[in-house]
Protein backbone atom coordinates (compact mmCIF):
# COMPACT_ATOMS: atom_id res chain seq x y z
CA UNK A 1 0.00 0.00 0.00
CA UNK A 2 1.26 3.46 -0.89
CA UNK A 3 2.10 5.81 1.94
CA UNK A 4 1.32 9.53 1.83
CA UNK A 5 5.02 10.16 1.06
CA UNK A 6 4.71 7.82 -1.94
CA UNK A 7 1.67 9.72 -3.22
CA UNK A 8 3.07 13.23 -2.98
CA UNK A 9 5.49 13.13 -5.95
CA UNK A 10 2.47 12.42 -8.20
CA UNK A 11 1.18 15.91 -7.38
CA UNK A 12 2.92 18.65 -9.42
CA UNK A 13 3.17 20.97 -6.39
CA UNK A 14 5.56 18.53 -4.73
CA UNK A 15 7.50 17.38 -7.79
CA UNK A 16 11.24 17.39 -7.31
CA UNK A 17 11.21 17.85 -3.53
CA UNK A 18 13.83 15.80 -1.67
CA UNK A 19 12.69 12.54 -0.07
CA UNK A 20 13.26 13.91 3.43
CA UNK A 21 11.17 17.00 2.64
CA UNK A 22 8.37 14.79 1.34
CA UNK A 23 8.56 12.74 4.53
CA UNK A 24 8.22 15.90 6.60
CA UNK A 25 5.18 17.06 4.61
CA UNK A 26 3.64 13.60 4.58
CA UNK A 27 3.60 13.72 8.36
CA UNK A 28 0.95 16.44 8.11
CA UNK A 29 -1.19 14.66 5.53
CA UNK A 30 -3.91 12.05 5.47
CA UNK A 31 -6.03 10.51 2.76
CA UNK A 32 -9.62 11.68 2.46
CA UNK A 33 -12.49 10.65 0.21
CA UNK A 34 -15.50 12.82 -0.64
CA UNK A 35 -18.62 11.50 -2.33
CA UNK A 36 -20.36 13.56 -5.04
CA UNK A 37 -22.03 16.58 -3.47
CA UNK A 38 -20.05 16.32 -0.25
CA UNK A 39 -18.16 19.41 0.93
CA UNK A 40 -14.43 19.16 1.56
CA UNK A 41 -14.50 22.64 3.08
CA UNK A 42 -17.09 25.33 3.70
CA UNK A 43 -16.92 29.07 3.14
CA UNK A 44 -16.62 30.96 6.45
CA UNK A 45 -15.30 28.05 8.50
CA UNK A 46 -11.71 28.00 9.75
CA UNK A 47 -9.30 27.18 6.97
CA UNK A 48 -7.08 24.75 8.81
CA UNK A 49 -6.50 22.36 5.91
CA UNK A 50 -5.15 22.27 2.42
CA UNK A 51 -6.05 19.64 -0.18
CA UNK A 52 -4.05 18.04 -2.97
CA UNK A 53 -6.41 16.23 -5.35
CA UNK A 54 -5.56 12.72 -6.50
CA UNK A 55 -8.78 11.61 -8.23
CA UNK A 56 -12.13 13.20 -9.05
CA UNK A 57 -13.11 16.85 -9.34
CA UNK A 58 -13.96 19.61 -6.88
CA UNK A 59 -16.03 22.70 -7.59
CA UNK A 60 -14.95 25.92 -5.85
CA UNK A 61 -18.17 27.69 -4.92
CA UNK A 62 -19.18 31.02 -3.51
CA UNK A 63 -22.60 31.54 -1.99
CA UNK A 64 -24.80 34.26 -3.40
CA UNK A 65 -27.76 35.36 -1.24
CA UNK A 66 -31.07 34.34 -2.72
CA UNK A 67 -29.72 32.02 -5.38
CA UNK A 68 -27.82 28.80 -5.79
CA UNK A 69 -24.05 28.89 -5.16
CA UNK A 70 -21.89 29.97 -8.10
CA UNK A 71 -19.06 27.70 -9.16
CA UNK A 72 -16.05 29.86 -10.06
CA UNK A 73 -13.52 27.13 -10.70
CA UNK A 74 -13.18 23.37 -10.85
CA UNK A 75 -10.11 21.56 -9.66
CA UNK A 76 -8.87 18.28 -11.01
CA UNK A 77 -6.28 15.62 -10.11
CA UNK A 78 -2.87 17.12 -9.48
CA UNK A 79 -4.30 20.49 -8.43
CA UNK A 80 -4.48 21.95 -4.94
CA UNK A 81 -7.23 23.69 -3.03
CA UNK A 82 -6.69 26.30 -0.35
CA UNK A 83 -3.93 28.60 0.76
CA UNK A 84 -5.65 30.28 3.71
CA UNK A 85 -3.83 27.74 5.93
CA UNK A 86 -0.63 29.77 5.41
CA UNK A 87 -1.95 32.24 8.00
CA UNK A 88 -3.45 31.01 11.26
CA UNK A 89 -7.17 31.35 11.99
CA UNK A 90 -8.23 32.46 8.51
CA UNK A 91 -11.68 31.50 7.26
CA UNK A 92 -12.24 29.76 3.92
CA UNK A 93 -13.25 32.35 1.32
CA UNK A 94 -14.97 29.68 -0.78
CA UNK A 95 -16.48 26.25 -0.41
CA UNK A 96 -15.13 23.14 -2.07
CA UNK A 97 -17.66 20.51 -3.09
CA UNK A 98 -16.91 17.17 -4.73
CA UNK A 99 -18.46 16.97 -8.20
CA UNK A 100 -17.59 13.32 -8.49
CA UNK A 101 -16.07 10.82 -6.07
CA UNK A 102 -12.88 12.55 -5.02
CA UNK A 103 -9.74 11.32 -3.34
CA UNK A 104 -7.32 13.86 -1.93
CA UNK A 105 -4.50 14.26 0.51
CA UNK A 106 -5.64 16.63 3.24
CA UNK A 107 -2.89 18.52 5.06
CA UNK A 108 -3.22 19.98 8.53
CA UNK A 109 -2.45 23.69 8.18
CA UNK A 110 -0.99 24.18 11.66
CA UNK A 111 1.25 21.16 11.18
CA UNK A 112 2.45 22.48 7.79
CA UNK A 113 3.14 25.92 9.23
CA UNK A 114 5.11 24.28 12.02
CA UNK A 115 7.27 22.33 9.55
CA UNK A 116 7.89 25.48 7.52
CA UNK A 117 8.98 27.34 10.66
CA UNK A 118 11.32 24.52 11.68
CA UNK A 119 12.83 24.10 8.23
CA UNK A 120 13.01 27.44 6.44
CA UNK A 121 14.42 25.88 3.30
CA UNK A 122 11.37 23.67 3.03
CA UNK A 123 9.15 26.59 4.02
CA UNK A 124 10.61 28.83 1.32
CA UNK A 125 10.28 26.13 -1.33
CA UNK A 126 6.67 25.38 -0.37
CA UNK A 127 5.72 29.07 -0.28
CA UNK A 128 7.40 29.64 -3.66
CA UNK A 129 5.42 26.82 -5.20
CA UNK A 130 2.15 27.94 -3.63
CA UNK A 131 2.88 31.48 -4.87
CA UNK A 132 3.16 30.17 -8.44
CA UNK A 133 -0.25 28.51 -8.10
CA UNK A 134 -1.72 31.70 -6.60
CA UNK A 135 -0.25 33.86 -9.39
CA UNK A 136 -1.74 31.61 -12.07
CA UNK A 137 -5.14 31.59 -10.36
CA UNK A 138 -5.01 35.40 -10.10
CA UNK A 139 -4.11 35.70 -13.80
CA UNK A 140 -7.01 33.50 -14.82
CA UNK A 141 -9.37 35.22 -12.37
CA UNK A 142 -8.55 38.56 -14.01
CA UNK A 143 -9.43 37.02 -17.34
CA UNK A 144 -12.77 35.82 -15.94
CA UNK A 145 -13.42 39.30 -14.52
CA UNK A 146 -12.99 40.83 -17.97
CA UNK A 147 -16.08 38.91 -19.08
CA UNK A 148 -14.43 38.54 -22.49
CA UNK A 149 -17.35 36.61 -23.92
CA UNK A 150 -19.73 39.45 -23.15
CA UNK A 151 -21.25 41.52 -25.93
CA UNK A 152 -18.75 42.68 -28.54
CA UNK A 153 -18.83 45.76 -30.70
CA UNK A 154 -22.30 46.55 -32.02
CA UNK A 155 -22.79 45.79 -35.73
Amino acid sequence: MKTIADLLPEIPLFEGLAAEQLELLAGCGRNVVAEPGEYLFREGTTADTFFALRHGAVGIEISVPGREPLVVQTLHPGEVAGWSWIFPAQPWSFSGRAIERTRAVSFDGACLRGKCEEDHELGYELMRRVAIVMAERLRFTRMQLLDIYGRGEAA
Binding site: G59, L70, V72, T74, H76, M143, Q144, I148, Y149
Partner: protein, 280 residues
Protein backbone atom coordinates in the same frame (compact mmCIF):
# COMPACT_ATOMS: atom_id res chain seq x y z
CA UNK B 1 -11.66 36.60 -52.48
CA UNK B 2 -14.96 35.88 -54.21
CA UNK B 3 -14.84 34.85 -57.87
CA UNK B 4 -15.24 37.44 -60.58
CA UNK B 5 -13.91 40.94 -61.09
CA UNK B 6 -13.73 43.77 -58.58
CA UNK B 7 -17.34 44.83 -59.18
CA UNK B 8 -18.73 41.31 -58.79
CA UNK B 9 -16.77 40.91 -55.56
CA UNK B 10 -18.80 43.62 -53.88
CA UNK B 11 -22.24 42.87 -55.30
CA UNK B 12 -24.33 40.77 -52.93
CA UNK B 13 -26.21 37.72 -54.16
CA UNK B 14 -29.65 36.93 -52.83
CA UNK B 15 -30.03 34.04 -50.39
CA UNK B 16 -33.26 32.82 -48.87
CA UNK B 17 -33.44 31.76 -45.22
CA UNK B 18 -34.40 28.09 -44.95
CA UNK B 19 -34.11 27.78 -41.18
CA UNK B 20 -33.12 29.85 -38.17
CA UNK B 21 -32.23 28.05 -34.94
CA UNK B 22 -31.56 29.77 -31.64
CA UNK B 23 -28.25 28.66 -30.11
CA UNK B 24 -28.47 30.69 -26.92
CA UNK B 25 -29.87 33.95 -25.58
CA UNK B 26 -28.60 36.09 -28.48
CA UNK B 27 -26.97 33.80 -31.03
CA UNK B 28 -28.68 32.14 -33.97
CA UNK B 29 -27.66 29.70 -36.71
CA UNK B 30 -29.16 30.39 -40.12
CA UNK B 31 -29.34 28.05 -43.11
CA UNK B 32 -29.46 29.83 -46.46
CA UNK B 33 -30.03 28.80 -50.06
CA UNK B 34 -28.86 30.80 -53.07
CA UNK B 35 -31.45 32.32 -55.35
CA UNK B 36 -29.15 33.69 -58.04
CA UNK B 37 -27.04 30.63 -58.82
CA UNK B 38 -27.71 26.88 -58.79
CA UNK B 39 -24.06 26.20 -57.93
CA UNK B 40 -23.16 25.13 -54.40
CA UNK B 41 -21.47 27.82 -52.35
CA UNK B 42 -17.94 26.50 -52.09
CA UNK B 43 -15.70 27.80 -49.32
CA UNK B 44 -12.71 26.88 -47.23
CA UNK B 45 -12.80 26.50 -43.42
CA UNK B 46 -12.14 29.87 -41.81
CA UNK B 47 -13.56 32.03 -44.59
CA UNK B 48 -16.31 34.58 -44.05
CA UNK B 49 -19.11 36.27 -45.97
CA UNK B 50 -20.57 39.73 -45.80
CA UNK B 51 -24.22 39.26 -44.83
CA UNK B 52 -26.57 42.06 -45.76
CA UNK B 53 -29.88 42.64 -44.02
CA UNK B 54 -31.54 44.92 -46.53
CA UNK B 55 -32.20 48.32 -45.04
CA UNK B 56 -30.30 47.54 -41.84
CA UNK B 57 -26.69 47.00 -42.84
CA UNK B 58 -23.95 44.60 -43.79
CA UNK B 59 -21.63 42.66 -41.48
CA UNK B 60 -18.81 40.12 -41.82
CA UNK B 61 -19.83 36.70 -40.51
CA UNK B 62 -17.77 33.50 -40.59
CA UNK B 63 -19.21 30.47 -42.30
CA UNK B 64 -20.01 27.83 -39.67
CA UNK B 65 -21.14 24.92 -41.85
CA UNK B 66 -19.46 21.88 -43.33
CA UNK B 67 -17.28 22.68 -46.36
CA UNK B 68 -17.96 19.18 -47.70
CA UNK B 69 -21.71 19.92 -47.68
CA UNK B 70 -21.83 23.58 -48.73
CA UNK B 71 -25.59 23.62 -49.31
CA UNK B 72 -27.27 25.06 -47.39
CA UNK B 73 -24.89 27.86 -46.51
CA UNK B 74 -24.63 28.05 -42.70
CA UNK B 75 -23.85 31.11 -40.60
CA UNK B 76 -23.93 31.56 -36.84
CA UNK B 77 -24.66 35.15 -35.86
CA UNK B 78 -24.77 36.98 -32.55
CA UNK B 79 -27.26 39.84 -32.29
CA UNK B 80 -25.23 42.78 -31.03
CA UNK B 81 -26.27 45.69 -33.26
CA UNK B 82 -28.79 46.84 -35.84
CA UNK B 83 -27.56 44.67 -38.73
CA UNK B 84 -26.96 41.49 -36.73
CA UNK B 85 -30.29 41.90 -34.91
CA UNK B 86 -32.04 42.11 -38.30
CA UNK B 87 -30.18 39.03 -39.57
CA UNK B 88 -31.00 37.07 -36.43
CA UNK B 89 -34.66 38.06 -36.75
CA UNK B 90 -34.87 36.69 -40.31
CA UNK B 91 -37.19 33.72 -40.63
CA UNK B 92 -37.77 31.08 -43.30
CA UNK B 93 -38.51 32.73 -46.64
CA UNK B 94 -36.80 36.03 -45.82
CA UNK B 95 -34.05 37.10 -48.18
CA UNK B 96 -30.57 38.29 -47.20
CA UNK B 97 -27.70 39.56 -49.33
CA UNK B 98 -24.50 37.51 -49.33
CA UNK B 99 -21.14 38.32 -50.82
CA UNK B 100 -18.05 36.22 -50.43
CA UNK B 101 -16.44 33.97 -49.51
CA UNK B 102 -13.58 36.15 -48.39
CA UNK B 103 -10.39 35.78 -46.45
CA UNK B 104 -7.85 33.13 -45.68
CA UNK B 105 -8.43 29.58 -44.49
CA UNK B 106 -7.33 27.54 -41.51
CA UNK B 107 -4.27 25.42 -42.38
CA UNK B 108 -4.97 21.95 -43.67
CA UNK B 109 -4.06 19.66 -40.79
CA UNK B 110 -5.34 16.55 -42.55
CA UNK B 111 -1.88 15.14 -43.19
CA UNK B 112 -1.13 11.81 -41.56
CA UNK B 113 0.51 12.16 -38.21
CA UNK B 114 -0.36 15.82 -37.66
CA UNK B 115 -2.14 16.52 -34.37
CA UNK B 116 -4.69 19.32 -34.42
CA UNK B 117 -5.42 21.31 -31.28
CA UNK B 118 -8.48 23.50 -31.75
CA UNK B 119 -9.02 26.18 -29.10
CA UNK B 120 -12.23 28.20 -29.19
CA UNK B 121 -13.63 30.88 -26.94
CA UNK B 122 -17.27 31.98 -27.03
CA UNK B 123 -18.55 32.66 -30.53
CA UNK B 124 -15.07 31.67 -31.78
CA UNK B 125 -16.31 28.10 -32.09
CA UNK B 126 -18.38 29.09 -35.13
CA UNK B 127 -15.45 29.92 -37.47
CA UNK B 128 -13.67 26.80 -36.25
CA UNK B 129 -16.58 24.44 -36.85
CA UNK B 130 -15.86 24.02 -40.60
CA UNK B 131 -12.26 23.07 -39.75
CA UNK B 132 -13.53 20.59 -37.15
CA UNK B 133 -15.83 18.99 -39.73
CA UNK B 134 -12.87 18.61 -42.10
CA UNK B 135 -10.62 17.22 -39.39
CA UNK B 136 -13.27 14.75 -38.25
CA UNK B 137 -13.61 13.55 -41.85
CA UNK B 138 -9.91 12.94 -42.35
CA UNK B 139 -8.59 9.43 -42.83
CA UNK B 140 -7.97 7.06 -39.94
CA UNK B 141 -4.23 7.78 -40.24
CA UNK B 142 -4.81 11.35 -39.06
CA UNK B 143 -3.23 12.43 -35.82
CA UNK B 144 -4.83 13.33 -32.52
CA UNK B 145 -7.69 15.86 -32.59
CA UNK B 146 -8.48 17.91 -29.50
CA UNK B 147 -11.10 20.61 -29.03
CA UNK B 148 -10.84 22.98 -26.06
CA UNK B 149 -13.85 25.24 -25.83
CA UNK B 150 -14.56 27.95 -23.29
CA UNK B 151 -17.73 29.94 -22.78
CA UNK B 152 -19.21 32.44 -20.39
CA UNK B 153 -21.71 30.02 -18.81
CA UNK B 154 -23.29 26.64 -19.65
CA UNK B 155 -26.31 28.46 -21.13
CA UNK B 156 -24.08 30.43 -23.52
CA UNK B 157 -22.34 27.43 -25.11
CA UNK B 158 -22.89 26.95 -28.83
CA UNK B 159 -23.78 23.77 -30.68
CA UNK B 160 -24.41 21.83 -27.44
CA UNK B 161 -26.05 18.82 -29.14
CA UNK B 162 -23.15 18.56 -31.56
CA UNK B 163 -20.63 18.85 -28.75
CA UNK B 164 -22.37 15.92 -27.05
CA UNK B 165 -22.12 13.85 -30.25
CA UNK B 166 -18.45 14.70 -30.62
CA UNK B 167 -17.79 13.76 -27.01
CA UNK B 168 -19.10 10.28 -27.76
CA UNK B 169 -16.60 9.85 -30.61
CA UNK B 170 -13.21 8.28 -30.09
CA UNK B 171 -11.38 10.36 -32.68
CA UNK B 172 -11.76 13.68 -30.85
CA UNK B 173 -11.04 14.73 -27.28
CA UNK B 174 -13.58 17.42 -26.39
CA UNK B 175 -13.07 19.55 -23.26
CA UNK B 176 -15.44 22.32 -22.37
CA UNK B 177 -15.10 24.90 -19.63
CA UNK B 178 -17.14 27.91 -18.58
CA UNK B 179 -16.25 31.06 -16.65
CA UNK B 180 -18.97 30.53 -14.05
CA UNK B 181 -21.78 28.05 -13.48
CA UNK B 182 -24.49 27.08 -11.08
CA UNK B 183 -23.87 24.10 -8.84
CA UNK B 184 -25.86 21.86 -11.22
CA UNK B 185 -23.14 22.08 -13.89
CA UNK B 186 -21.02 18.94 -13.82
CA UNK B 187 -18.38 20.16 -16.26
CA UNK B 188 -15.25 22.23 -15.77
CA UNK B 189 -15.25 25.84 -14.58
CA UNK B 190 -12.30 28.05 -15.41
CA UNK B 191 -10.76 29.80 -18.38
CA UNK B 192 -9.97 27.96 -21.58
CA UNK B 193 -6.16 28.55 -21.50
CA UNK B 194 -6.11 26.60 -18.21
CA UNK B 195 -7.19 23.51 -20.17
CA UNK B 196 -4.04 23.61 -22.28
CA UNK B 197 -1.85 22.34 -19.48
CA UNK B 198 -4.21 19.39 -18.98
CA UNK B 199 -4.09 17.89 -22.47
CA UNK B 200 -1.47 15.80 -24.15
CA UNK B 201 0.52 17.81 -26.69
CA UNK B 202 3.42 16.72 -28.83
CA UNK B 203 4.87 20.12 -29.86
CA UNK B 204 6.77 18.62 -32.77
CA UNK B 205 3.63 17.41 -34.55
CA UNK B 206 0.87 19.72 -33.38
CA UNK B 207 -0.88 22.51 -35.24
CA UNK B 208 -3.04 24.84 -33.11
CA UNK B 209 -6.07 26.68 -34.48
CA UNK B 210 -7.26 29.42 -32.12
CA UNK B 211 -10.27 31.70 -32.30
CA UNK B 212 -11.90 33.86 -29.67
CA UNK B 213 -11.77 37.32 -28.11
CA UNK B 214 -8.33 38.89 -28.38
CA UNK B 215 -7.68 38.75 -24.63
CA UNK B 216 -8.32 35.02 -24.75
CA UNK B 217 -6.02 34.68 -27.77
CA UNK B 218 -3.16 36.30 -25.86
CA UNK B 219 -3.52 34.01 -22.83
CA UNK B 220 -3.99 30.95 -25.05
CA UNK B 221 -0.93 31.66 -27.20
CA UNK B 222 1.17 32.17 -24.05
CA UNK B 223 -0.01 28.80 -22.72
CA UNK B 224 0.70 27.07 -26.05
CA UNK B 225 4.20 28.56 -26.26
CA UNK B 226 4.80 27.46 -22.66
CA UNK B 227 3.88 23.92 -23.74
CA UNK B 228 6.60 24.13 -26.39
CA UNK B 229 4.58 24.90 -29.51
CA UNK B 230 6.62 26.95 -31.98
CA UNK B 231 4.89 30.20 -33.06
CA UNK B 232 4.84 28.83 -36.62
CA UNK B 233 2.51 26.05 -35.51
CA UNK B 234 -0.08 28.44 -34.09
CA UNK B 235 -2.80 29.99 -36.27
CA UNK B 236 -5.21 32.64 -35.04
CA UNK B 237 -8.33 34.27 -36.38
CA UNK B 238 -8.30 38.03 -35.82
CA UNK B 239 -11.37 40.19 -35.43
CA UNK B 240 -11.40 43.72 -36.80
CA UNK B 241 -14.00 46.10 -38.13
CA UNK B 242 -14.37 44.78 -41.70
CA UNK B 243 -16.48 46.85 -44.08
CA UNK B 244 -15.58 46.32 -47.76
CA UNK B 245 -14.04 42.82 -47.31
CA UNK B 246 -11.81 43.31 -50.37
CA UNK B 247 -8.90 45.26 -48.90
CA UNK B 248 -9.99 48.68 -50.17
CA UNK B 249 -11.50 50.67 -47.34
CA UNK B 250 -8.88 50.13 -44.63
CA UNK B 251 -11.33 49.79 -41.75
CA UNK B 252 -9.87 46.45 -40.75
CA UNK B 253 -6.22 47.43 -40.99
CA UNK B 254 -4.08 45.59 -38.46
CA UNK B 255 -0.62 47.11 -38.77
CA UNK B 256 0.45 46.36 -42.35
CA UNK B 257 -2.23 43.66 -42.74
CA UNK B 258 -5.79 43.96 -43.89
CA UNK B 259 -7.75 41.44 -41.85
CA UNK B 260 -10.38 40.97 -44.58
CA UNK B 261 -7.88 40.30 -47.35
CA UNK B 262 -4.83 38.84 -45.56
CA UNK B 263 -6.76 37.13 -42.72
CA UNK B 264 -8.92 36.70 -40.87
CA UNK B 265 -6.82 33.56 -40.22
CA UNK B 266 -3.17 34.41 -39.75
CA UNK B 267 -0.14 32.36 -38.84
CA UNK B 268 0.71 33.73 -35.39
CA UNK B 269 4.30 34.22 -36.53
CA UNK B 270 3.09 36.84 -39.03
CA UNK B 271 1.13 38.95 -36.55
CA UNK B 272 2.87 38.28 -33.23
CA UNK B 273 4.62 41.67 -33.21
CA UNK B 274 1.22 43.37 -33.41
CA UNK B 275 -0.28 41.60 -30.40
CA UNK B 276 -0.63 43.86 -27.41
CA UNK B 277 0.32 47.02 -29.31
CA UNK B 278 -1.91 49.91 -28.40
CA UNK B 279 -4.05 51.38 -31.16
CA UNK B 280 -3.38 48.55 -33.62
Amino acid sequence: MAAGGPAEAIVPRRFRVLANRRENEDTFTLELEGLDSPDPFEFEPGQFNMLYAFGAGEVPISISGDPAAPAPLVHTVRAVGAATRAICAAGPGDVLGVRGPYGSAWPDAAEDGVDALVVAGGLGLAPLRPALYSLLARSAGGGRLTLLYGGRSPEQLLFDAELERWRAREDIDVRVTVDTAGSGWMGAVGVVPALIEKVEIDPARTVALVCGPEVMLGFTIAALVERGLPPGAIHVSMERNMKCAVGRCGHCQFGPEFVCRDGAVFPYERVRRLFGLREV
